[in-house]
Subunit: 482 residues, 2 copies
C-alpha cells in the first residue's frame, strides 16, 4: 500500500472511528458472541491477493465490533477503566506512521527523550519523588516482574553474573497479600523465587490492607528459619477492593531487612494527580519502584504503563546487554531504555502519552478523575442507605464493592445464613445486568463469597449513567432475589 | 477530545503521514540530533490547558522527525529492517480506535480469535508444523524469556509451584552460541539460570553456525559434572551474520537430554514464506518453540512478534493465573492469551497483522522478500569481485557482511597485518557513510574485528538504492583508506 492509497483509506478509517465512538452508547456493552464465532467468520488462510480496503473495513464493522466488549461505553463498569482517549489514539497513529524503531538512543533519539520528558511530566503531576526516573513498559505485570528481578539481583549481589538463583543457599522470600493483583504471584514465580517462598501477609478485616504487624512477624519467622527476605510488593489500590497497603509503615520494616519495596499503583497512580488523593502514596519516597498504568483510568490508549525506579543504575546493571552492533559514540551520555526492561525493540509509546497530555491538558483530566470519585461516593451512599444492600469495602478510589443481601439469606445483623444461596443470587443478578447490554459489572470473590465490583471511570460515564446503573442493579437483584 | 475534534485532527494527521512517507527519501537517514537536543526543546512540565492540534502536529514535524533515524528510508541498511507497512498502520489505528481490552477471552473475544486466526495464517504461510499454536508478543526478547521459563519449569517438574529455582540441587544449563542475539543470554540470566550455567557452544569458522559435535561434547561434560541440560536456543539467522544453526542436528541431541529447543527466527521467519528458503527451518518440527518478528522484514508495524509453541498446555501451566474477577463461564472452551506470556492486559495487536496481510496480500509480500534476497546476492557479487573488498560470511538472507581491506593493512593472502589500523579504517568510513545522510549501515564485531553489516530490506529499497549504496561505500572507503 502506497502513501496515496493510505491517504484515502486513512480518511475512511478516521471517519469510521469518529462515527463508532459517537454511537458506542447505542451498542451493547458486553460482546455478543460465543466461543469460536468470530474465528468461524474468517477464512482459514491468508489472502494471496490484496483485498480492497472497503472489504476490510466492512469486516471491522460486522465481525470485530460485535466481538468486543465495549470498554469505551458509558455503561462499562467492569474490571478497571481502560480508557482510550482520542488524543492518545492520534499519538499512537503518529508513532505507527513514523515507523521509528527504539533499540538504542541512536536509533531514535526522540523516542528516548520524549519518553524521558513525559515520564518526568507524569512524575511531577503525581508528585512522586523528584529523583525517580521512569520508563514506559507494556503493563504493570512486566513492571512487577522487572522489579522482582531487580530485587532478586540486589539480594544476591548480582548472582545472575554467576550461578544465578541456582547458586543461592538460603531461599529468598517475597511478601505481598492475597489481595494483590494476580500478576504479583505470577512475577514472583517467573522470577524463580517459587511459590513456597511467597508470603501472603494477613490483611486488616475491614480495609483489606496489609497489616504491618503481620508483615513484621512473617519477616521475623523467615529470618529465624534461615530465609532471606528480598522484596515486598505493596498494593496501592488492589483490584478486588482498591485497598491501600500502608507503604509508610512497610518501608521501615523493609529497610531493616534491606528488602526491595515495589508499589503496585497500576490503577491508583492516576489519582495522584489530585492533591486531595496524595495520601494514597504516603511513604512512597522510601520505595524502590512503582508501577502505574496511564492506560487505565488516565486514558492513554493501551499499552502504556510507567515503571518508576529510585536507582536506575541498579536496574540497568541487571538488564543491560551491549552487543557490538548496538554500540555508539554517545553511550554513557544518553539513556538506553533497552536496558530498563525485557524487550530490545521498542515502539514509540511516549507519543501517545505526549499527545494525550497536550490535547486534553492536565486540568481536564483532573476534572474527570474528580467526577469519577464523586460518582463512586454517590453510588456508595445510595447503596449504604438502601435496605438489603451493602458496601463491602472502603471506597478509596472509584470502585464500589457491593452486594445485595436479601432477608432470609442474610440476617438482620449481617450474618450470612446461606452462603450458597447468596452466591447464586449474586452471580445470577450480575449475569442479568451484563446480559442486558446496558452495563457491565464484575463479580469478584471477597473473603470467599461473591461480591460485585462496580468500577466507575470510563471516559464518557457521567452521573446519569451511574444513576441508570443503580436502577438497573436494584431491578436485577430485586426481581430475581426477593 | 470528542469524536468531531478527533475527526478533524485525524484527517490532518493522515495527510501528514501520507506526505511524510512520500518525502522520506529526501530526509537524511540518520537522526540529526545530539544527546539532549530533543528533550531541550520540550517544556519541563505537562500543559495544564489543552493545546490546539496544530501545535502538536508542528512539533511532530520540527522536533520529532529530525530526532529519529528514518527506518522507512530506501537508504536504511542498518540493524535489521523494521518495516511499518501502511496497511498495518491502519490496522493498528483501528485497534486504538476500538479501544478494546484484551485480558480474558470474554473481555474481547475478537481480539483473541483474530489473533488465533492470523497466527494460523502465518504458520501456514511459513509451513511451520500444523500442530503448533501461536501468540503475539511484543518482541523476540520476551519470546525467548518465555521459552526459557517454560524450559526451566519442564526441567524442574514445575518447581515454580514449590521452591522455585532456589530449591534445585543440580544446576540447570542452557546452550547457545556467541552469535546468538543479545536477548538470549539476557533471557537466560533473567530466568535465573545464571551466567555460569550458560554455555556458548563453538561455531563453524566459515558459517558461524553452531557445531553439533561441540554441542554434544558440552552436553556430555556438563552431565558428567552433575549438571542438567535444560534448553538450547538455536538461531536461524543470527544478527551478526544471519548464520543458521543446524536445527535438524540439534534436535536429536536435545531430545536425548529432554531439553527444550527454542528457535530464534526473529528475522528469518519471514523468509519461510518462500518455498526456496524453507531449508532454513529444516528440523524445526522437533523444536518446542519458535519466535518470529513480523515487525521486522515482513513489515507489520512494531510491536508484533509471534511465539509458536508445540505444547501450549505446558506454557499455560507455567504462566496461568485465575483470580476470581477474571473467571467466566466459557473458561476451558476458549484460548486465554493472558496465560501465554507475561502481560495480562493486551492490545489488539492482531488487527495490524490482519490488515497488513489482507491489504498487501501474500504474493506482494513474497515478491518483495525475493527482491531483497536478489539485491543482497547482487551486492555480495559486486563486493566479492572488487579488489580490496571481501564478503565475510555466507549470505543466507538479505544481509551482507563485508569489509574493505586495503593493501598494506591486509596482505595479499587475506592476513590482517595491522588489526588496529583495519578497525580504525572500517569505523571511519562507516561513520562517513552514516554522516552523509544518504544511507545507514551498522558496524559489528566479527571474531574480534570490526565488520560492516549491510542489511537490505526496507520496504522502499529497490536495486537502484543498493547500487547507489555500493558506490557510496567504495567512495567512502576509498577516499579515506587508500
Amino acid at each position: 500500500m502506497g502513501p496515496e492509497e493510505f491517504r484515502a483509506a486513512g480518511h475512511e478509517l478516521i471517519d469510521w472511528i469518529a462515527d463508532y465512538r459517537a454511537r458506542i452508547p447505542q451498542l451493547p456493552v458486553q460482546a455478543q458472541v460465543g466461543p469460536g464465532e468470530v474465528a468461524g467468520k474468517l477464512p482459514g488462510r491468508a489472502p494471496e491477493e490484496a483485498e480492497p480496503f472497503g472489504r476490510v473495513l466492512a469486516d471491522l464493522e460486522s465481525v470485530v465490533v460485535p466481538g468486543v466488549t465495549q470498554i469505551q461505553h458509558p455503561g462499562f463498569f467492569g474490571w478497571f477503566p481502560s480508557n482510550a482517549s482520542l488524543g492518545s489514539v492520534l499519538g499512537d497513529l503518529a508513532a505507527s506512521g513514523l515507523g521509528a524503531l527504539g533499540i538504542t538512543w541512536q536509533s531514535a533519539p526522540a523516542l528516548t527523550e520524549v519518553e524521558e520528558v513525559v515520564a518526568e511530566w507524569l512524575r511531577e503531576l503525581a508528585r512522586l519523588p523528584a529523583s525517580w526516573k521512569g520508563v514506559i513498559q507494556d503493563g504493570a505485570s512486566s513492571g512487577c516482574l522487572v522489579a522482582l528481578l531487580a530485587a532478586r539481583e540486589r539480594a544476591t549481589g548480582y548472582g545472575e553474573a554467576r550461578g544465578g538463583l541456582q547458586a543461592e543457599s538460603a531461599p529468598l522470600t517475597v511478601y505481598t497479600t492475597q489481595h494483590a493483583h494476580s500478576s504479583v504471584p505470577k512475577a514472583a514465580v517467573l522470577a524463580g523465587y517459587g511459590q513456597d517462598n511467597l508470603r501472603f501477609v494477613d490483611v486488616d478485616p475491614v480495609t483489606y490492607a496489609m497489616r504491618p504487624d503481620a508483615l513484621a512477624s512473617a519477616l521475623e519467622a523467615d529470618v529465624a528459619a534461615g530465609r532471606r527476605p528480598a522484596a515486598v510488593v505493596a498494593s496501592v489500590g488492589t483490584t478486588g477492593t482498591t485497598a491501600v497497603d500502608p507503604v509508610a509503615q512497610i518501608v521501615p520494616l523493609a529497610r531493616q531487612y534491606r528488602m526491595w519495596v515495589h508499589v503496585d499503583a497500576a490503577m491508583a497512580g492516576s489519582a495522584l494527580l489530585l492533591p486531595e488523593m496524595r495520601w494514597l502514596a504516603d511513604g512512597v519516597e522510601g520505595a524502590d519502584s512503582l508501577a502505574w498504568n496511564p492506560h487505565k483510568w488516565l486514558g492513554t490508549v493501551l499499552d502504556c504503563s510507567l515503571l518508576y525506579v529510585a536507582d536506575p543504575d541498579h536496574l540497568v546493571r541487571v538488564m543491560s546487554t551491549s552487543p557490538s552492533y548496538l554500540r555508539s559514540a554517545v553511550d554513557g551520555q544518553v539513556t538506553q531504555y533497552k536496558d530498563w526492561g525485557i524487550p530490545l525493540g521498542r515502539r514509540f509509546r511516549a507519543l501517545k502519552l505526549w499527545f494525550h497530555l497536550r490535547l486534553d491538558g492536565a486540568e481536564v483530566i483532573r476534572a474527570r478523575l474528580r467526577r469519577d470519585l464523586a460518582n463512586a461516593r454517590w453510588l456508595a451512599e445510595q447503596v449504604s442507605s438502601t435496605p438489603g444492600w451493602r458496601v463491602l469495602a472502603p471506597v478509596n478510589l472509584q470502585t464500589v464493592v457491593l452486594r445485595h443481601e436479601p432477608a432470609g439469606v442474610v440476617s438482620g445483623t449481617g450474618a450470612v445464613l446461606d452462603a450458597d444461596a447468596l452466591n447464586a443470587h449474586t452471580l445470577s443478578w450480575v449475569d442479568s445486568v451484563n446480559a442486558s447490554g446496558a452495563a457491565l459489572i464484575t463479580p469478584s470473590l471477597l473473603e470467599g463469597t461473591w461480591s460485585v465490583r462496580v468500577s466507575i471511570g470510563a471516559e464518557p460515564t457521567e452521573r446519569r449513567d451511574v444513576e441508570k446503573l443503580w436502577s438497573l442493579l436494584q431491578q436485577a437483584a430485586g426481581s430475581l432475589g426477593t
